[in-house]
Every structure is written in structure tokens, then in C-alpha cells.
């Protein structure tokens, strides 16, 4: 368990947070730019000292009252937005910089593992000047992993990269958590990254924690200042449930629903994560047997909220253990007389497989 409660006056606002994160999996610190995410992360790392606060990671007290553990005595790893590699050292020495400062008994992650997990073997003898932006960031991740942290903090590590480089690093970050078992706190203002990586989401706004919870619950809530418009959608977790080889389709099962989609080539039972955008879901009072939409899910209306444009509303429906968001016109909502508790069919036009 990672617990933090911190108060820090900061010009425009006061950082005032109290949160508890699971010490497994990826937690995302999500919110608009300037909401205090980076300041909070710096406080957790010990790079910034909140005058009042308490930080406890897996039973280790990093800050409490007047007691303050300096950053170099914390079992923390930090990956900054720009990779901040040491320019006077080659890649291998960068990765080993922190590792060699650990007592042998503290080296729970070997140097070889840190290098293998980030795929930087071919870069080891290079100078840092000869690396691309994506390579630099992978080296920075390996360097932070090699200190065997209890908590790995990542401050928008993809922000300075182009789409191709992001696509190269995201899978590496996904693998990390599974391979290393280290709790990751990932700071981002990009919902797509959060949807893809996070198991747990902490939503921040103006220096405060607005909401926190599992990604599936949190992103489907209509009462939060989540990014509206095209990005509204939910994240579902499940497994490959069936394959239709002749038609190259796979059925992805999540609690309470199943979706047929293009066969991603994954074996039966493989764990998957799906993103279903509100714009791809419509509602119907009855199943539509004569439709090309094969993914029709029986569900119950949970709540209705205004969307960005006055012509539309967002409807949250529950299907078993999963929640979906649907975007429908206000006129349709009225015509169907949608109201909480009502049985509907969610017609899902497409789902995006995230991993």
C-alpha cells in the first residue's frame, strides 16, 4: 500500500492531496496540465518537500511530521519527462549508476533484467548523444528500474516523443509491471495512455484529488471532470473467450458482456483490455436481429448526463459487471424515454483492443 497525504502551497494553488494506491499494478495520476500532478510526484520522490505531509510506501515511512527521508535514501525510481541521462556517461554506465550504489542484498532486480525488459542491449556501448528520443527514454527507464524501487514514478515519459516513438515505448512500459512486479505511478494528461496502461486511476484537478478507483469504474463515471467529447469511453478487462477461425474473429469476454472482433491472434484465455468509446455505442429498446452490428449487449440504464454539444447526452449503462458509455442524441433519449433502471440493448459498433 502506498499512502500519501501532502499539503504544499504553490503560487496559483495549494497542493492538498490524500490518497492510497495499491502497491501492485499501474496507477495513473491523471488530470489537466498544471493541476499539480508533477508536484505531487516530486513530493513522493523527495525532490520537493511539502511542509506538512506523510508518505508511507509498503510500510516504509518516507515522510512523517519533521522526519523526511532524502531522495537518495528512498527506494524510489523516477523517469522524467525528458530522459535526463548523464551526458558524460555511456549507456551502460548510465544504467549502472544507481545499481552500483545499492548494497548487493538490495539488488532485487538484476542489471541484466533491467536491460532485457527495456530492450536496450544493442545500445549499451553507445554514447547518450547517439540515441533517439525513444531510446533515451528506454535507457532512463532501465536506469530507474535497476535501483530496485518499491515505487516507480513516471512523469509523462512519452510527452516529448512523436507517435511512432510512443508506440515503441508503451508496450515496454506495459511489460514492466508484469515482469518486475514494481508498483508504477504514471503521470499523464492523455486519456489514451491512461486507458491503455492504468489499473487504478487518481483524478486530480487544481491541486486536489477529485476521485480515485479502478480504471473501469472511474472512466465510466459521468460525475467527474473527465475529458469530454471524442475521448469519452470506458476501459474493460477480460480474456479471449472463443475463436471463429473461418471468419478470423475472436470473442473477447468481459464481465457481463462479450464482443466479437477481428482476431488479434491471441490464444484462448489470454488476458485483454478493451476500450469502448461512447461514440461507438448506440442504444436500442430491443435486440436488432436484422443488423450488421453483431455486438448487441443487454444492459440497464444507470445514469444520463449532458454531453459537450447540447444535441447529445451521454448514457451510462450497466451490463453485468461492466459499465458502458453511449452517446445518443437528446431527441433519441427522449423518444426512447431513457431513464435509470430501464432495460436497453447497447449496440457496440467497434471496440479497441489495448493489449
Amino acid at each position: 500500500m502506498i499512502e500519501a497525504s501532502l499539503q504544499l502551497p504553490r503560487g496559483a494553488f495549494t497542493l492538498d492531496v490524500s490518497m492510497a494506491l495499491p502497491s501492485q499494478g499501474v496507477s495513473a495520476l491523471f488530470g489537466p496540465s498544471g493541476c499539480g500532478k508533477t508536484t505531487l510526484l516530486r513530493c513522493l520522490a523527495g525532490l520537493e518537500r511539502a511542509p506538512r505531509g506523510r508518505v508511507v510506501v509498503d510500510g516504509q515511512v518516507w515522510q512523517h511530521g519533521a522526519a523526511f527521508t532524502p531522495p537518495h535514501r528512498r527506494a524510489v525510481g523516477v523517469v522524467f519527462q525528458e530522459s535526463s541521462l548523464f551526458e558524460h556517461l555511456d549507456v551502460r554506465r548510465n544504467v549502472a549508476f544507481g545499481w552500483q550504489r545499492l548494497a548487493p542484498a538490495e539488488r532485487r532486480i538484476s542489471l541484466d533484467d533491467a536491460i532485457a525488459w527495456t530492450g536496450i542491449e544493442p545500445l549499451l556501448e553507445r554514447s547518450t548523444h547517439a540515441l533517439s528520443g525513444g531510446e533515451r527514454q528506454r535507457v532512463a527507464i532501465a536506469r530507474a528500474l535497476a535501483v530496485s524501487p518499491r515505487l516507480l514514478l513516471m512523469d509523462e515519459p512519452l510527452a516529448a516523443l512523436d507517435a511512432a516513438r510512443k508506440a515503441e515505448i508503451l508496450p515496454a512500459i506495459e511489460r514492466l509491471n508484469t515482469l518486475s512486479g514494481i508498483a508504477i505511478l504514471y503521470v499523464s494528461h492523455v486519456i489514451a495512455e491512461v486507458a491503455r496502461l492504468a489499473d487504478h486511476v487518481v483524478l486530480m484537478d487544481a491541486g486536489r484529488v477529485v476521485a480515485a478507483g479502478p480504471v473501469g469504474d472511474l472512466l465510466s463515471r459521468l460525475d467527474l471532470p473527465l475529458p469530454p467529447g471524442e475521448d469519452a469511453g470506458v476501459v474493460l478487462q477480460g480474456a479471449v473467450g472463443a475463436l471463429d477461425a473461418p471468419f478470423h474473429l475472436a470473442r473477447l469476454d468481459v464481465p457481463g458482456a462479450a464482443f466479437w472482433t477481428r482476431d488479434p491472434g491471441l490464444p484462448l484465455g489470454h488476458r485483454i483490455r478493451l476500450r469502448v468509446l461512447a461514440r461507438d455505442v448506440s442504444l436500442s429498446l430491443a435486440a436488432q436481429p436484422g443488423s450488421s452490428i453483431v455486438n448487441q449487449v443487454p444492459a440497464t440504464v444507470d445514469s444520463i448526463a449532458d454531453d459537450v454539444h447540447p444535441s447529445q447526452v451521454l448514457v451510462r449503462v450497466r451490463a453485468g459487471g461492466s459499465a458502458l458509455l453511449a452517446r445518443v442524441t437528446r431527441r433519441s433519449a427522449q423518444a426512447l424515454a431513457l431513464a435509470p433502471g430501464q432495460a436497453v440493448w447497447a449496440m457496440v459498433k467497434s471496440v479497441a483492443l489495448l493489449d
Partner: protein, 237 residues
């Protein structure tokens, strides 16, 4: 002629000893000062920077005069050194070393400060999260990243000390083997109308100074006009 050569050689040797000692002492003392100036937000930063830069604009005679007063028999420093049994410092090699350190200080502290500023806070923070304590961060991150600036500081401090004259005359006089450096020896030659000997020393100093400056400018980043600009201040990816 042989006596001339011997006297010149003695002056050259003394100058090199003085410059080497001053450079080493200034690097040792200037480094903490430059580090502090590079990182502080204290209101004392501006006054202290101005004091460090004073020798750049003051006539060396002014500096030498005040040092003579301070270290003389009636000055605070002079009375202290006498009380400690060290005697008086003016017209000694030690006095010359102290005066030269003050005189050459900006040429060492300013490049060091620029180099430390160019290192920035981020590599130090990264090192802190990689288990490096304050001293390790300074030795293994700040110093290597600032190394070009440190070399520049040493070379400029050395060269500037070699070339000093006014302060030497005021504080050191002209004592062979103790305070007679190249520039005062050159002055002696001219006073005695020994122009050939004067040429020899003058040309030596000219070539030495030009070579030093040429080297400094060669290794400076493009587009920087200041001699003390950090050679490390290149854009980072």
C-alpha cells in the same frame, strides 16, 4: 648576458610557481563559492558577485594599495599575522600569492559558475533518485559535466596571474627570487635600457597569452561572445 639569462630564468620560474599555486588555491576555494553562486536564490548573490567581479574593473594599483594597507604593520591582517608570529606579508612570496588570488578570482570563479549553471538542476535530481548522496552527486555528476568549464577556469586563472604587474609592484616589490616575476623583470630591463632583453620577455608573454586565448576560444561553443561562457553550455537533447 649570462647574469641576465639567469635573472630572467629565475623570474620565469618564480612566475610559474606563483601562477600554479594561485591556480590550485583558487580552484579549491573558488569551487564552493561558484557552486553556491550558481545555485543560490539568496539576496546576497548580487553583492557577492559584484565583489568577485571587482578586480575586472579596478586598477590593480587600487587593489594592491588596499592590500598593502591591510597587510601592513598597521592593518588588521598585518597585526594578526604579526601576533601569530608570521611576520608581515607585503614583499613576501606569500603576500604575493594572496594578492594574486584576489586579483585573478573572477577569471576562475566566473567560468566555474557558468559551468555549474549549465549543468542545471535536473541531472542532480536524477542522480539523487539514483541513490547518490550530495557529495557523490557533486563529484560524479556536477564535476564531470562541468569539466570543460573547470579547465577553462584553471587556464584563465593561470594566464591572468602570469600577466599581472600592478598588484605585484604595490604588494611585492621587486625582490629577486621572492617577488620578482616576469612582468617586473621586464620593467627592470626597460628601466635599464636593455631593450633586447625586454623584447625577449615581452614576446614570451605575448605568445603565451595569445596561445592561451586562442585555445580558450577554440573550445568555446559557437556563437558565444563571452570568454567566461560555459564551454559545456551546448543544447541538450
Amino acid at each position: 648576458m649570462d647574469a641576465d639569462w639567469a635573472a630572467d630564468l629565475q623570474a620565469v620560474t618564480l612566475t610559474l610557481e606563483l601562477a600554479a599555486l594561485v591556480t590550485v588555491l583558487l580552484l579549491a576555494g573558488g569551487m564552493p563559492l561558484a557552486w553556491w553562486l550558481a545555485r543560490t536564490t539568496s539576496r546576497w548573490k548580487a553583492p557577492l558577485s559584484a565583489v568577485v567581479a571587482l578586480p575586472l574593473v579596478l586598477p590593480p594599483t587600487v587593489l594592491g594599495f588596499y592590500l598593502l594597507m591591510l597587510m601592513g604593520p598597521h592593518g588588521i591582517v598585518g597585526q594578526a599575522t604579526q601576533a601569530l608570529g608570521l611576520g608581515l606579508l607585503p614583499f613576501t612570496f606569500t603576500g604575493l600569492v594572496i594578492a594574486s588570488m584576489l586579483y585573478s578570482m573572477p577569471f576562475v570563479v566566473q567560468p566555474l559558475q557558468a559551468a555549474f549553471e549549465a549543468v542545471g538542476a535536473r541531472p542532480m535530481e536524477a542522480a539523487a533518485t539514483l541513490r547518490a548522496g550530495p557529495w557523490e552527486r557533486f563529484v560524479h555528476v556536477a564535476l564531470p559535466l562541468a569539466r570543460r568549464g573547470i579547465v577553462t577556469a584553471a587556464v584563465l586563472g593561470f594566464a591572468h596571474t602570469v600577466g599581472e604587474f600592478g598588484v605585484v609592484l604595490m604588494i611585492g616589490g621587486n625582490i629577486p627570487g621572492a617577488t620578482r616575476v616576469i612582468s617586473t623583470q621586464l620593467y627592470n630591463h626597460v628601466e635599464a635600457f636593455e631593450y633586447a632583453a625586454a623584447h625577449r620577455l615581452a614576446a614570451l608573454l605575448l605568445l603565451f597569452s595569445f596561445a592561451v586565448l586562442l585555445w580558450v576560444y577554440w573550445r568555446r561553443p559557437h556563437g558565444s561572445a563571452s570568454i567566461v561562457a560555459a564551454p559545456d553550455a551546448r543544447p541538450r537533447a
